[in-house]
């Protein structure tokens, strides 16, 4: 199923970017009347910020090596705007999997759909955000790599393309680790990888003429039954409790204030 070396030109790197449209981080999030979802009517939708790093890195690699960048998303009609934005940034092709049966089934089902879609595109590299900032599950990227049976490197802050392989710098607790992986492979992005470019006005005009295909599960030989339902169900959703007002510790001297603070932390807050 995987593309062989013959499927691509020497040196050219064909890249698939996995992209999710999410509510803008500055949006006012409100719980919907059903108590298990959020109100979406008035939300502003954007490209998941970690996926923006993925688009930018793909464009930089293509600019340096030659090749192509395909943006792939699972979503509804409104996700077209996110894909068009990526095309305006400079990606070559967009693919939207728009099928009600593919939605709302959880991260692993999404990963299966994405993997099936990636298999139809010649690729050397798949780049995904480390997580989507809406559900924060960190699952889709690595799961796609598993379904594709290719190596996965997470939380990458720097890449160096070598001959037939890639060197990735990834963050770990208190430092970075450098790993090399043969192509094809998948990596996920971490803040610091790059500074995404703006969609320029000429870019927006060029994007109008770029191909943007819409596909359904049937195009990948998947049927709705093949996708298991979500592995977790949301029982209730509530906004975090509002922060109470602060309290100023009174006292004559610094030492007295410190003593009062320690007492409050120990006896009232019970944190020390």
């Amino acid at each position: 199923m995987l593309p062989g070396p013959g499927a691509r030109k020497e040196k050219n790197v064909d890249i698939v970017v996995l992209l999710k449209q999410v509510p803008a981080t500055e949006s006012l999030i409100q719980v919907a009347d059903d108590g298990v979802s959020i109100k979406t009517e008035e939300l502003k939708w954007v490209i998941n910020p970690y996926d923006e790093f993925a688009v930018e890195e793909a464009l930089r690699i293509r600019e340096a090596q030659g090749g192509s960048v395909t943006v792939l998303s699972v979503g509804t009609d409104k996700a077209v705007e996110a894909i068009r934005t990526a095309l305006a940034m400079g990606a070559d092709t967009g693919v939207l999997v728009n099928d009600p049966a593919a939605l709302g089934k959880g991260a692993l089902a999404t990963a299966r759909v994405l993997a099936a879609a990636v298999k139809q595109i010649p690729f050397d590299l798949v780049i995904a955000g480390q997580r989507a900032v809406d559900a924060d599950q960190f699952q889709v990227g690595p799961a796609v790599a598993e379904y594709l049976r290719i190596p996965n490197v997470s939380m990458v802050i720097k890449t160096e393309l070598l001959d037939g392989s890639i060197r990735c710098h990834r963050t770990i607790e208190g430092g970075t680790v450098v790993v090399e992986s043969p192509l094809p492979m998948l990596f996920t992005t971490q803040r610091g990888l790059n500074e995404p470019r703006y969609a320029s006005l000429p870019g927006i005009m060029k994007a109008k003429k770029k191909p943007l295909e819409t596909k359904t599960l049937a195009d990948f030989g998947l049927d709705a039954g093949a996708l298991e339902g979500p592995t977790a169900r949301i029982r209730a959703l509530s906004p975090p409790a509002e922060r109470g007002g602060g309290r100023i510790i009174e006292g004559e001297s610094a030492a007295e204030k410190a003593a009062a603070l320690v007492k409050a932390l120990h006896e009232e807050a019970k944190v020390i």
Binding site: V46, V80, E81, R84, T85, A88, Y198, A199, S200, L201, P202, G203, I204, M205, A207, K208
Partner: protein, 385 residues
């Protein structure tokens, strides 16, 4: 009726907003304080494609509609008036007349560099003694063999004297008409032409990091071919150019008002007095509601005027109305914004202080609010002089 913007307009707005927030907002206050035109932000705006927005691709433009240009200007004005002024004057006044009235040769010669933002072009209309009475310009151009000889001066000319200013479209008296009134024509003058001096004007109250110039012509000779369009058409060209320019001034009012509202909602929700956020007091919340309502009306009015223009329908009255209304909405919004910021609103540390100053130009530039009212009154059949 369809009030929904196209997806491309939404993408454009998001991109320009994000650019303005990250590249212009952090430097706007310092540039204003130091009264400095920034070549750095100019280059970044050029790279984003903010010049030549409505010019066809054939001349290096972006080939977008006028509404796209207006949305881009609005979003830049939402964070800074000076930068929006550079764009509005660059497009409407610099590029516009060359694009609409220039010969093929003139367009090929000038537009590509103006659309790429490598160079700026100015529009010389106002004179020390000809402001609202623009038809009474004193600058003269006399044909001497194959050259125009220009004498006179222009004032308050945006983008005229930067290091990258390539020239100006100058309205001159080229003779007298049969009815005895002056014959006005537009002539292109390149910076560096002997006899032409462009001088930066300092100590402005507003738009302090945009470039404002005085232009002086002393026996300045330019080739006969530098005439823009037909001889005697200068005044009509200027009036048409201002119709479009008014939309961009409207965009500056709209964007500036939106910037005032966004900053003030945030501030009013954070600032506490009497133990609670000041937005909880109706005296403040009602001001915010009034601002939002007026901004919505201004936006509908301005976008409708753009729609008329993009659909090649008459839009002169609507452009004057939109310019007038958007300017006055920003005046009221900047006033409320400073009021809600209280003492802090009077300090340069807060952007609303700059917005309050920048706002005033909009009532004056490209036709004062009084002139807009004359234009509107005449359009509705009032016998206004």
């Amino acid at each position: 009726m369809d009030f929904e913007l196209s997806m491309d307009h939404e993408i454009l707005r998001d991109s320009v907003r994000s650019f303005a927030e990250k590249e212009i907002k952090p430097v706007a206050q310092t540039l204003d304080k130091e009264e400095t035109f920034s070549y750095d932000t100019m280059a970044k705006m050029a790279e984003l494609g903010l010049f030549g927005i409505f010019v066809s691709e054939e001349y290096g433009g972006q080939g977008m509609d006028y509404l796209s240009y207006i949305i881009a200007t609005e979003e830049i004005a939402r964070v800074d008036g000076s930068h929006a002024a550079t764009i509005a004057a660059g497009n409407s006044l610099g590029i516009g007349p060359l694009y609409y009235y220039g010969s093929e040769e003139q367009k090929k010669k000038y537009l590509p560099k103006l659309c790429s933002g490598e160079a700026l072009w100015a529009f010389g209309l106002t004179e020390p003694n000809a402001g609202s009475d623009a038809a009474n310009s004193k600058t003269t151009a006399v044909l001497d063999g194959n050259e125009w000889v220009i004498n006179g001066s222009k004032i308050f000319i945006t983008n005229g004297s930067t290091d990258i200013s390539a020239g100006s479209t100058v309205m001159c008296r080229t003779g007298s008409r049969e009815d005895g009134r002056p014959e006005l024509s537009c002539i292109l003058v390149e910076n560096g032409t002997p006899g032409y001096t462009a001088k930066v004007m300092h100590d402005k109250m507003m738009w302090r990091s945009s470039n404002t110039s005085e232009l002086y012509f002393e026996d300045c000779r330019v080739p006969k071919e530098n005439l823009l369009g037909k001889r005697g058409h200068g005044f009509y060209q200027m009036m048409e150019t201002l119709d479009g320019g008014r939309l961009s001034i409207g965009a500056m009012g709209l964007g500036g008002a939106q910037g005032c509202l966004d900053m003030t909602v945030r501030y009013a929700n954070e600032r506490e007095q009497f133990g609670r956020p000041i937005a909880t007091f109706q005296a403040n919340a009602f001001k915010l509601a009034d601002m939002a309502t007026e901004i919505d009306a201004a936006r509908l009015m301005l976008y409708r005027a753009c729609w008329l223009r993009d659909n090649e329908k008459p839009f002169s009255k609507e452009a004057a109305m939109a310019k007038l209304y958007c300017s006055e909405v920003m005046y009221r919004c900047a006033n409320h914004a400073v009021q809600i910021h209280g003492g802090y609103g009077l300090m340069k540390e807060y952007d609303v202080e700059r917005f309050y100053r920048d706002q005033k130009l909009l009532d004056i530039g490209e036709g004062t609010s009084e002139v807009q009212r004359i234009v509107i009154a005449r359009h509705i059949g009032a016998k206004c002089l």
